[in-house]
């Protein structure tokens, strides 16, 4: 059984850092004993959440910062992604009808849908001026 641990990575909000962010979280998930399938799911959910911060919280302003915190306890991994940009309103989110979006030739809207499908729990929090999304997966 692992003891509770926290690891933090702080990076500029740029797509150049996407692979580093994914790999940072995946390496801790692997060290914590998650199987390959779950690691792939966590990796993709983190990619989508980080990309959403770049696009929607910061409008591609690469001078801004994103913090990625990995917290593990014996049966669980929590990934907390924090930004100080525009907040996401989860109350306004509706699960997209993807086939309909294709027919209407609309792009986007799939990232949040994927995050919810890939993780066991997803929580949005506001800590002062910080927005946080907490992605949770159980072993």
């Amino acid at each position: 059984m692992s003891k509770p641990k926290t690891h933090t990575l702080r990076v500029h909000a740029t797509t150049a850092n996407i692979a580093a962010v994914r790999d940072f979280v995946a390496s801790h998930a692997e060290a914590h004993g998650f199987n390959t399938e779950d690691i792939d799911r966590i990796r993709l959910a983190v990619d989508e959440a980080y990309t959403n911060v770049i696009k929607h919280a910061y409008d591609f302003d690469e001078s801004q910062w994103v913090s990625i915190e990995v917290k593990t306890d014996p049966r669980t991994i929590h990934v907390v992604i924090s930004d100080s940009g525009r907040s996401f309103n989860p109350d306004g989110y509706q699960e997209p009808n993807i086939e309909e979006r294709i027919k209407m030739r609309k792009r986007g809207g799939v990232g949040v849908f994927l995050i919810h499908k890939l993780m066991d729990e997803v929580e949005y929090r506001k800590q002062g001026s910080l927005n946080e999304i907490v992605l949770t997966k159980h072993l």
Binding site: T15, E37, D47, E48, I98, E99, I102, G111, L114
Partner: protein, 112 residues
């Protein structure tokens, strides 16, 4: 991501390689598809065997490519989706939108 197009007698095989994440790759792919359409080649097989990672932007690029080919009167079919990519297509229900094949040969033959 990089991609390589190889012409067969009844279709063009486009092999994706690396991380499929849309962005500038979507522009390059769109240009290639329009070049093919202008040359009268409207049937494409996308070989996904060398794809390491795909996110929602990559899926969007694939959907855009499918729409481009179907609007031109052709089709885009996929082959060799790894378990990881197939799982992504199932989660997003896109598995019903694309004709997908377990092997490149099967996908190419489907255009005969």
């Amino acid at each position: 991501m990089s991609f390589k197009a190889t012409e067969r007698w009844n279709c063009v095989v486009i092999e994706f390689n690396g991380n499929v994440m849309g962005g500038p790759d979507a522009v390059a792919l769109n240009e290639k598809l329009h070049e093919l359409i202008d040359g009268g080649k409207k049937n494409v097989v996308v070989d996904l065997s060398k794809v390491k990672f795909m996110n929602s932007s990559g899926l969007g690029m694939l959907i855009g490519a499918l729409t481009t080919m179907r609007n031109a009167g052709g089709d885009l079919r996929i082959a060799n989706a790894t378990d990881k990519i197939e799982s992504l297509l199932i989660i997003t229900k896109l598995i019903t939108v694309f004709q997908h094949f377990k092997s490149l040969d099967d996908a190419v033959k489907s255009f005969e």
